[in-house]
Symmetry: C5
Subunit: 288 residues, 5 copies
């Protein structure tokens, strides 16, 4: 069994292999155009499989690449479009023992490594969402909304590739084919189970993000409410004083008590009494 491990789809070697193994031109074309869907197709005398490795790059952004695989009777060709460091490390390790392994076993190991590499991505999202949930109630700033939607964007992408990968694994776990031996079926089913769990977990994370957005909106509404209350309490405290002092500021005759020595105290008492009265009233309506 020979393994041709190409890291550049535009490598001329691919053309040579295409000729040697009679690879379909459409499949070669697929190798050279990124953004294929995860799928497998039966070629003339080989299986063509597209996997979708994913990782979080240094900028904290989701990066999704293509890994194209030709699985023939006595050869395996992998074409990696774009870099996925974790998977690369894994492939390099597999290469050392590739000679002794059967082609379909090797394919399973590559598939398994690709699926295992989703784990850190999902964990990264779980952490990011936990952080968001904490922030969203304490300090609901607009940047949080931006963050929520960038996470949402990523999860939409993840769900897309995971469901496609799951469907692929589902079809392969019962695939009657010359290139995959029956003994491998339970292992492929295991991969399917793993992906099904991942899909469920992404769905849950999307629900949680939607929840975080709702919390955000309710937080903002609540704060507006709080601000209004403060404003109203301020008004409640100040207005009686302003009204009373306005009254005693009038240049009319015979302001009651104004000319007595205790006029000022009468006015102040009136202010305090009215203010306290209003506050008691607000208290009754359950405001503090």
């Amino acid at each position: 069994m020979t393994w041709h491990d190409l890291t550049d789809p535009n490598d001329a070697e691919l053309d040579g292999l295409a000729e040697k193994y009679h690879l379909h031109p459409l499949h070669i074309e697929d190798c050279r155009h990124q953004n294929q869907r995860a799928k497998f197709e039966t070629g003339a005398d080989y299986l063509f499989i597209v996997l979708k490795p994913a990782h979080i790059d240094e900028k904290g952004e989701l990066s999704i690449t293509d890994l194209d695989i030709f699985l023939g009777r006595d050869y395996l060709i992998t074409v990696q479009e774009g870099a996925c460091p974790a998977l690369r490390a894994n492939l390099n390790q597999l290469r050392q023992t590739a000679g002794q392994t059967r082609g379909d076993q090797l394919f399973y190991k590559i598939l398994d490594a690709t699926v295992d590499a989703y784990e850190p991505v999902l964990d990264w999202y779980a952490n990011a969402i936990d952080e968001i949930e904490d922030k969203v109630l304490e300090t609901p700033v607009p940047e949080t909304v931006e963050r929520i939607f960038s996470l949402k964007r990523g999860l939409i992408e993840m769900r897309r590739i995971l469901t496609n990968m799951r469907d692929l694994a589902n079809q392969m776990q019962r695939l009657e084919s010359d290139y995959i031996q029956r003994e491998l079926w339970p292992f492929l089913r295991d991969v399917y189970d793993h992906l099904a769990r991942d899909v469920e977990s992404v769905e849950m994370q999307r629900d949680l993000l939607a929840g975080a957005m709702d919390i955000y909106l309710s937080s903002v509404a609540n704060r507006t409410n709080q601000v209004m209350k403060v404003l109203t309490v301020l008004g409640t405290i100040a207005l009686p004083s302003i009204v009373v002092s306005g009254f005693y500021g009038m240049n009319t005759k015979a302001l009651p008590f104004a000319d007595t020595p205790h006029g000022t105290w009468v006015a102040v008492s009136l202010m305090v009494a009215l203010t306290v009265g209003l506050l008691v009233m607000l208290k009754k309506f359950d405001w503090f």
Copy 2:
């Protein structure tokens, strides 16, 4: 019939049993990794089943564990990952009569016990939601939102395991297999019915929670509205007085009535008249 009841998946005994009964390495691996989906698989000469017991722990949090079962011709192996006290008690009781029971009957009883243990969990959620619904209209505080979303999180989890368990029961109720006798089918169908009811009830609880969130938001909006009204009424009462007293506070000549002995009463009458006029107007627009 022998029942091997392991409570620790890392127990070396499991390895011994794996060798003795030719258990598939993938199944042993499943036993040692939590968070499997509820499923059943047909092994070489046994059935492998993963159940998902659930309970509410002392902190009031949903705890979901795995219960792995190997059902062979003359043996039953159960591997419990993580503790579920209610189920444990039940299993201990079953153990005392296990010797006389057939393997598939014992399996049914364990399945039934697992499903029965969902009941208190669902009741706990029903109560929690009832409490929330009461609180949400009277005192809509942000903590309520947090509570709603933690409950929502739990219900999403519950729905996930219940639907998987239901699908498992659905497949098993018609399973032509050497390990489960036909006579057991109506009983498995009964379990299926039970789980289908549980799924429906979780769906309903999710709808109710979504409703509680809507009530919360409408409550906050309403309160803001109330606060605004109070502020406006305060303004309505105070502004005429301020305007009139401002007028009579001016240091200009010939303020009308200002120099007559009844100037003050003229001013006060004006204030009262304007305020009452405004309040009557607001009343007309249906504000009280």
Copy 3:
């Protein structure tokens, strides 16, 4: 054909019948536990059917009960769990002519009576929603929200039992069975049609309720908007007067026109002019 019409599932008579007709213990258990799903099951030599009668009780609350039916070759057993007055009346009437009727015909009549009894329930909801829609725009009080959600809760319940009943009718309308004659099929299909219509109508009512909630929220938002406008208009009217009278209230020298006999009128003219100016401006921005 004998009809055993039990109104108490704990009646010892049921045990007697169970023994006589070899009823499955699980079915007897179902009879004694409320809250089964609508379903039918094929027993050893009978059909076991669970129907879900519903009515609105005197408190205006939805009450859903169970009606369990055993349909054998020459007997019919009905077990009513919980009271449903309308259905009871109907059953009593059927009893008078039961002797001459065939078992499956009688079953159909009971099924038909159960389905007919949904009609007043759905009408009750239609009326309640119409009332809500009227109220929600005129007087959006928090009680309306409570009412909307209690109605929603009921409709969720109704949809649940109606879809289960519909699926039951769908399966029975083509059931090859010894206990139901072919001639009855069009009648069962008619029941199915009726239930399908009911499900559609509940779906529509749920849509309308969701709409009512949206109207409510938009109403509250609108009212807040109105209140704000009133407050702003009040401010617009009062502020110029306050500013001007404040100005002329200053104890500084040389207030323009203050010492002329027409000072007061200058000030008042200024107030009126500024206020009118502001109101014209607001008018331009389309506020009245």
Copy 4:
């Protein structure tokens, strides 16, 4: 081929026909109860079809009626429950050439006329939604919400009957039956295509209506925001003047500059300076 065209389901003629052609009592009952679902059923020796004509009545309200059809080997019976003027005109025209036409062809023409009559209804909704979308941004009044929900109600109804009609057409386009000749299949398929397009278009209109509601809510929120800004700007302009004139209105000694001849101008300069300062600040925060 004879065509019995009844416009009153309670006509005694229908009973006569029922007897003559052995029509099933359930079908006669269906003819006499409005609000059936669109469906077709195979009778003893005829097809029974329920169509759902729709039109917008003079009050601008959606009116949905029933058109029941019995298609036998050499006769056609149509029973119209409720009036649909456009369809009636069409049927009258068909009657003039009915004699020469085959029964299934005539049936197709009636079906086609019924489906064509949906077109003006959908156009009416498209126009109504266009109008709403224009109004909703300019003048978001509560009546708009009422209008949106009455349109929504109509579209829910339309979708219900259109999907039922589509399913009916889908089943009939491949119906092996004595009453419909194969040659008619492409024509029925054409009707199916038409209905499928109509369903898609109703779905789209519902999406647009939901969008209009969102625009409405965002419009109201925006206006509240605008009102608040105006209020704040008013406050910004007035408050410095009030504070300064209050200061100079105090009856204390040694008010700075108060006794100089330029005191008034000092005060006014202070007012203007503070107001401009505040407005500049608000400008910086991007308010105009």
Copy 5:
């Protein structure tokens, strides 16, 4: 192989071709009525296919047209209803080599060209959404909402035609037919993959648009909140001064400190102290 490339469906040539090749009148009718769904139908001795080309016109609006194709044994008829410039250019180019090409190959090339022409449309939407997302947080003006909903309208349309096209390609990729050779299947499958990816991408764009609307609403809510805070802070600064100066403006006897030479400074100190106190309090409640 002859290719009849009609650009006007009302061309009399079509009638001639219809007669010559026995085209079904319904298909000719479809050619002359726009707004068909993407579909294919098997005619007497040809395939009839409707494709849906799309492009963004100069006004920046989505324009969807119909391309009807008759694929016979030795001829191909294309009828273009409405203009799609990009596709036209492509068809003109294909025409130059049409003579040597087989009919089904030519059909594939036309299908491929139609699908490739979706790419710039989807890119245009992706760009428009990116722009919206940037604007929505910075300057949430009502025009943005209008723009969001016009984009949404377009995406709803695009999804509709893309899903129909995808279903068409899905059915054709396994079509046993005299008019399409097996060798073409992988190519049709490639088109299917392409369309499936396009559908997924439109779904994602719809999710992103919905997100943009949520961001908009949260932005408006946030701004209202900001405005309220500014208003409250203004009130906080001004009210103490107004109250204190009102107090010292009263015409009562014995105002404390009023007659001392430092009265003014006492008053000002009081104002400043109260204002600072209130600001400190607001600060504590986390407002800046």
